[in-house]
């Protein structure tokens, strides 16, 4: 096996040096009746050439990866500068472990500190952690944290939160004594309706997504005041991080916890993962935050460095009393996002967001003008919007794919069987005008 340095002969010598007759004796402490007597029934080894052929053949079956696409809904096609992937491929970054030995891990630690700062800047918050698994689990952790902070057990979640995020939250809270309530969507605006009556003193938090799952930008400020008046926390979820470049930050709108999916920041869609969850909150809640935190520290000579800090929140110290069970997070993806944010920078993040919004507006106008199609929601959008088609959306999208070679968006029936004719369309800076026009032409013909 070419990954194993010691040759069979070397290993034989080492065994002899240990007084062992064979490799099998290494496993003498395993009772004989549970030691395998036959080889595993996994396949024979492949050479590098064969392996690449195998995977290329499988990849070629993913026809959707080769088409212009208007899919969003939690995973977004953005352009990532080449330097992002080339820098994260430095072995110094990608093969390193969690930076438990700061003297030889300052690269990772400084990058985490920079990531935390950038997340704070974009979300408008005070503290951010080193990452969560993804947006969905970050949201679930925010719900748990809201309970810890407020000691209240009811959390109201907007019905316009990504349905998969909602499912994850349900799983996470199933045994935490937290009850999830639901806020309805206003069928005219597409925004979450404020249900004043539900906002009582049992409510730990209200969870809103903005732009919400239907693409509509929520009026966060209006919520914040009411939520805070009820003594609850406002948790804001963002699935499309590119929107930070244009939309008022959740922090500026009064959010207490902001969680986001960071995939838009230079991370390939890669069939759903690995992505990276952003998690930020107010300074006063810093010690309730889940996951790792990097902070500044100094050595004896006063040189500045970075360490993992406030570890007493974490499982390896606090065990069952930890703020979360998370250990391994999404370090390298957080680094990719850090490089992306740095490369795009202050102006680039705004320009990407502006282009997304402009192109989405263009597409929305064109589609709205098509006979039989309508845009059911009136609220402002960022780069996603719902289209109501004259016929079954799933069938329409299948025809678009096969006849016009375009993935036209998401049939909302995937999550809402009753929404048979609705399509969620997402437009980013990577969709050229010609692609949009082709989509519009395709819709017209179908």
């Amino acid at each position: 096996m070419r990954y194993i340095p010691n040759s069979p002969e070397e290993r034989q010598e080492m065994l002899r040096g240990l007084g062992l007759g064979s490799a099998a004796e290494l496993f003498d402490s395993i009772p004989a009746d549970i030691v395998l007597t036959e080889p595993l029934k996994t396949p024979d080894a492949l050479s590098e050439i064969e392996l690449l052929e195998r995977f290329e053949a499988m990849a070629s079956k993913n026809a959707a990866a080769r088409r212009p696409s208007f899919l969003g809904a939690g995973a977004y096609h953005h352009y990532a500068p080449t330097i992002v992937d080339s820098l994260i491929q430095r072995s110094e970054f990608f093969t390193a472990y969690t930076p438990y030995q700061p003297e030889i891990s300052q690269g990772t630690l400084q990058a985490i500190f920079e990531f935390q700062t950038l997340v704070c800047q974009l979300t408008g918050m005070d503290v951010a952690n080193a990452s969560m698994y993804d947006g969905s689990t970050a949201m679930a952790e925010a719900v748990l944290m809201a309970e810890r902070v407020t000691r209240r057990q009811r959390v109201l979640v907007s019905g316009a939160v990504h349905p998969e995020y909602l499912r994850v939250a349900e799983t996470y809270v199933a045994h935490a004594g937290i009850e999830l309530g639901r806020l309805e969507t206003d069928e005219a605006t597409g925004r979450t309706a404020i249900d004043a009556s539900a906002l009582d003193d049992k409510v730990a938090a209200v969870v809103l997504q903005s732009p919400n799952f239907f693409g509509c930008v929520e009026d966060l400020k209006a919520f914040a005041d009411r939520v805070h008046a009820a003594g609850a926390l406002l948790v804001v979820v963002v699935t499309e991080a590119a929107s930070f470049g244009l939309l008022r930050s959740p922090g500026a709108c009064g959010a207490d916890i902001v969680v986001a999916e960071g995939q838009s920041f230079g991370v390939p869609v890669s069939y759903g993962g690995p992505y990276v969850g952003l998690f930020a909150t107010r300074e006063k809640y810093a010690r309730q935050i889940p996951g790792r935190l990097a902070g500044i520290a100094y050595d004896k000579e006063g040189r500045r460095g970075f360490v993992l800090t406030l570890a007493t929140r974490e499982q390896h110290i606090r065990r069952e009393k930890a703020t979360s069970n998370i250990c391994t997070n999404e370090g390298l993806i957080a680094l990719a996002a850090t490089i992306y944010m740095t490369a795009l920078g202050r102006k680039g993040l705004q320009e990407v967001a502006a282009q997304c919004a402009q192109k989405a507006a263009y597409a929305r106008r064109q589609i709205a003008a098509l006979e039989g199609f309508s845009i059911p929601y009136s609220a402002p959008v960022f780069n996603e919007f719902v289209v109501r088609a004259p016929s079954d959306a799933a069938g329409l999208l299948r025809r678009l794919a096969s006849e016009h070679n375009v993935t036209g968006g998401l049939a909302l029936s995937r999550y809402y069987p009753e929404r048979a004719n609705d399509i969620l369309v997402c437009v980013t800076e990577t969709n050229k005008r010609a692609d949009i026009d082709a989509l519009v032409a395709g819709l017209k013909q179908s």
Partner: protein, 511 residues
């Protein structure tokens, strides 16, 4: 004895990216907007738009960015520099071939909500990986959804919860629900944390002087009748195989509980013994350990759950299954009424699934066993080499990692932390320290199969040399490392007044 693994060399300094920023620099270029522009106010009313012009976000050219991250990268130790003997972490070689596989455009550009018929290749990858993991663990039900080990633990114990509730019909009657999760005192912190998150009460099982689970204590705890299950790491975190594993499982099963195995140490077992054959009901694997997906400085990981047929209905949705119509097609199955639900959006860290499958196919069945043998042999070699110099808390032969303490050296005031820091001067990354908690001053050393004999010997020599220094020149060890760009950092002060972000005033302020 000459240890010549390391010396010092010039290294660049580099400020924070915010400190490098200069107004007006640009590191990107987008294509010109190719649609008619809509007035900003028409797009979005001003009160919904940012009004801070992203102040504080850096402005840098592309070479600035590349130099910044390249420079700071050089401050990191990494697997490609040598032995990275973190016990419990399995820092093995991260194949470049697997990185290449994960970047094949047909995978990297595939949207998770693409129609199933247009994503058959990705589903095939996941399905095939599931099959192989089932074979490797002897547990037929597999979900690839969990994003890391702890996430897999949570998934697994939630499945136990769901199974018990279904079996015992006690979902509504809180009092009757089995709520106790037994966890050895040597377990990783994620085990109790995950159990807690899943609504269990943790009871701790003692370890024996041999470093094994105390069967008497286990029986005693099981006798209470409220035991939902046991979370066991095997080989345990002392690197010792729980040779009574069958009996342990029997005791728990007889008491009406289920056995969860923390699979972090599967690198000792792949191809040699299978958890399913031991009586384990559910396990998580760390693809980022045993199956070599890169740790990435802290992640991403992937923590698939494998379980018995009995537990399979409780696995998270969606499952990746064959279409059942004999056309060789795959599909996502959401119709699993007993499922604990979703633990993550989409289907898990697919990029890691690709790498793990590439690992399995590159090794082949013989190679998988060979890796296990080589890993255990390497640990044995170190254990043997250091046996006379450092205190071994337990006599049992180590599997893929070996455990020592600082007992002998601490008499001279030199502790595990000092030994670890001094190893840096010899060019090695330190071992895992102060874990497991049951052993004072623990040093847990896991060389993995990815290191050759001479480097193992260099490590042994370095450790012996440090032991000598501890006796003869303790200060050198106590003040180590001496070769790094910064010395030991004051972590206590950092935690007292945490500074967790840079602030635009040019001065970072306390959080």
């Amino acid at each position: 004895m000459t240890i010549t693994k390391a010396t010092t060399h010039v290294t660049q300094n580099e400020a924070l990216v915010f400190e490098r920023s200069q107004t007006g620099r640009r590191g990107y270029r987008l294509p010109a907007l190719d649609v008619e522009e809509t007035a900003l106010d028409e797009l979005l009313p001003a009160e919904l738009r940012r009004d801070d012009d992203l102040e504080g976000v850096p402005e840098l050219s592309e070479p600035d960015v590349v130099r910044h991250f390249t420079r700071i990268s050089t401050w990191n130790y990494n697997i490609d520099l040598g032995l990275y003997p973190l016990g419990s972490c399995t820092m093995k070689y991260n194949s470049r071939l697997n990185e290449r596989v994960a970047r094949i455009p047909g995978f990297a550009n595939l949207h998770p909500l693409a129609p199933e018929e247009d994503a058959q290749g990705a589903l095939e990858v996941m399905y095939e990986l599931q099959q192989h993991l089932a074979e490797i663990t002897g547990l037929p039900g597999v979900s690839l959804q969990p994003a890391a080990g702890a996430h897999g633990e949570m998934t697994g114990v939630m499945m136990i919860r769901a199974f018990l509730d279904a079996r015992d019909g006690t979902t509504s009657d809180e009092a009757k629900r089995r709520k106790v999760m037994l966890i050895p005192d040597s377990a990783h912190g994620t085990n109790p944390a995950s159990a807690h998150l899943s609504g269990f009460t943790v009871k701790t099982i003692r370890s024996t002087p041999e470093g094994l689970t105390d069967l008497e204590h286990l029986r005693e705890l099981c006798a209470a009748g409220d035991v939902a299950g046991l979370m066991l790491t095997n080989p345990n975190t002392c690197g010792i195989f729980e040779r009574n594993i069958r009996e342990i499982c029997d005791i728990v099963h007889e008491a009406g509980g289920l056995v969860y195995m923390d699979g972090a140490n599967m690198n000792a077992l792949v191809g040699v013994a299978r958890p399913g054959d031991m009586g384990v009901d559910v396990i998580h694997l760390n693809l980022h350990k045993t199956f070599s997906t890169p740790h990435g400085g802290g992640g991403p990981g992937s923590g698939p759950c494998c379980c018995t047929a009995e537990l399979e209905p409780f696995l998270p949705v969606p499952r990746v299954v064959t279409s059942g119509t004999g056309d060789g097609a795959y599909r996502l199955d959401y119709e699993r009424p007993h499922s604990i639900g979703r633990v993550k959006a989409f289907y898990g860290n697919f990029g890691m699934h690709l790498r793990a499958l590439a690992y399995i196919l590159t090794h082949g069945n013989d190679g998988l066993r060979e890796a296990t043998e080589a890993a255990v042999l390497n640990a044995r070699y170190i254990a043997h080499g250091l046996a006379d110099t450092f205190d071994r808390p337990f006599d049992s032969p180590p599997m893929h990692e070996c455990l020592f303490t600082d007992k002998r050296q601490s008499r001279k005031g030199v502790h595990t932390l000092d030994i670890a820091k001094r190893l840096i001067d010899y060019g090695f990354h330190p071992m895992t320290i102060y874990f497991p908690l049951i052993v004072q001053g623990a040093m847990l050393i896991e060389p993995t199969e990815s290191v050759g004999r001479s480097e193992l010997q260099q490590f042994v020599d370095a450790m012996k040399e440090i032991a000598r220094e501890a006796l003869e020149d303790a200060d050198t060890v106590l003040n180590a490392p001496h070769t790094t760009r910064i010395g030991r950092l004051d972590e206590a002060a950092a935690a007292r007044k945490p500074v967790l972000r840079w602030k635009p005033e040019g001065k970072a302020t306390a959080a």
